[in-house]
Amino acid sequence: MTGRATFGDFADGARALLRGPAGPADLAVGGGTPAARAGPVREFTRSMDRVVTVLARYAADVTAVLAPEASPEENLPATWSNASLQARKAIHNAAAYLQPTPAYTGPPDHPHTTDPAARRLDAATALLAAGNDLLHTHVAARPDRTRVDRSEWAPVVTSPPVARALLLELGLWARRIATHGARLALPGPAARRGTGDERYRLNAACQWLWMLDSAVQGAQRHQPVSAAEVQLLHAIPVNARAPRLIPGSAETITSLCQGTINSAERIRHAATITAPDPAWSPALTADSLRQAAASGTVISHHCELLLQTLATRASQHGSTDLATRLLGSADAAAHARAAWLHTARAWYRITTDTRGTIAPAATCCPALKMLMKASLKAPMSWCGNAPPAGLLAGLCERGAAPGRHGAGLDGRVPGWTAGCRVGRQGAGG
């Protein structure tokens, strides 16, 4: 939809790699030194250690959502909260078996993985790590470990349904990794002599991954994750915005739609990241606020026109109910337009004074601050995406006409106290 990488891209890629063959051809080693014979097992163990490290990150994220501290559900079997705790424990135990054996005194491991199964696992690990990073682009943590939302997707990423879908994926990955590892760990031909301890440890780790899958399957049977929830997880895009573009005269409908979506995302992102900014931000200017209000007016106007046109078409096709609802939306857009216009006109008359020669007249709220940075001009250029209806209504009072008596106007809003300047002719002092 947005042309950006989604979590599904990475999850699907990893799943395909983990589904790949790990047959005897990969594992058979005939003869050679004990170290050479141990190669595939050791390489796979090392690769599995890496992937388990990534799985641990996923498990921590999932547990934070599904089993926060002091949750009363924690001990109930076959619940997702319980499964998340079991998953984390299983991963922890698996990781313990994947550490290098202290007794090993052979030559150092080959710096590059040569075993095909281990290489596939490494590739899957990279994809899974990228997927985890993608999810973390939407949320950050403060020093006190509380969450900071970085995008509109953050509530989705941290929602229980998506966490359950993620845990379901985790179970699937764990099962496939365990299947590959267990094949390698099987005791077999004489060619594998001397690898007993390593195979034992690898097998134990795999058993813990199967335990993880088992816990997840139990929860899935008790409270199934829907296909829609998995789709939602897979649809989460990376938190990155397309650069601001001005539409040309030869844009296609597709590119106009894409441009509109990109602009709307930029606005929502700006709204998200601007909210915590202090009100005295020097980036706020009267010019920007004017531009935001004017753009909001035009966007609302465009919405009204489009909705009215759609209502007419719906009526012509006999969809009276749809036409009525569209007209209702058009009416709402008209109200938004009126509110924006009122605000835009107020900003014609509000200017700022860094020398303190004017009386405070309007104190702007975070909504205005948010809109200033939101660059509403962009969606207006692309088509007219809907602004928050009436957001600015009543926030600014209409002041006297601006003037220039001895004031050092610089178009900024220091301290968020804009001044209604007296008229140039001195009216209203």
Binding site: D287, R345, P402, R404, G426
Partner: protein, 156 residues
């Protein structure tokens, strides 16, 4: 007698024409800045009068309004802008903006903004003060924006 003639001429002109006339006649940096400031003010009033949602150029007039206000404010920062003269503003003695049709208003405002852009660009070269130069350039850019929005061709 001359005064009476001038006042009568002002009554005969609409405020946009009056502002344009004044801008054309302005000589020297302070006079240009003063006339340009007043022109932005007059444009803003005319633009507001044309902001009819049922009109054909509503969006253009709304966006132009923001540009006119920002252009005016840019000029208000210029060190060379003289203090406001007392008395009635030019627009107050002229005819109302309401008498202009949308097409006439667009044409008049585009022409005035084109002239504004030109005079402000020239003015920015006249001043030795960097504050004047920057503010004039900014105001000229806003004038060019208005000109473009209302169908004119901005001065390059």
């Amino acid at each position: 007698m001359l005064c009476a003639f001038i006042v009568q001429e002002a009554y005969d002109m609409n405020p946009i024409d009056a502002a344009r006339h004044r801008l054309e006649q302005a000589d020297g940096l302070p006079a240009v800045l003063d006339a340009a400031y007043e022109a932005f003010e007059q444009m803003l009033r005319a633009i507001e009068d044309q902001q009819d949602p049922a009109g054909r150029a509503f969006a253009a007039f709304v966006m132009s309004g923001a540009a006119a206000a920002s252009g005016r404010d840019a000029l208000a920062t210029t060190p060379s802008l003289p203090p406001a003269a007392s008395g009635e503003p030019v627009g107050a003695i002229g005819r109302s903006h309401h008498e202009l049709t949308t097409e006439d208003a667009s044409a008049a405002l585009a022409a005035l903004s084109q002239l504004l852009g030109s005079r402000l660009t020239d003015a920015s070269h006249l001043s030795a003060d960097v504050g004047d130069r920057v503010a004039c350039s900014q105001a000229a850019r806003h004038a060019a924006s208005i000109c473009s929005l209302l169908g004119g061709i901005p001065e390059q």
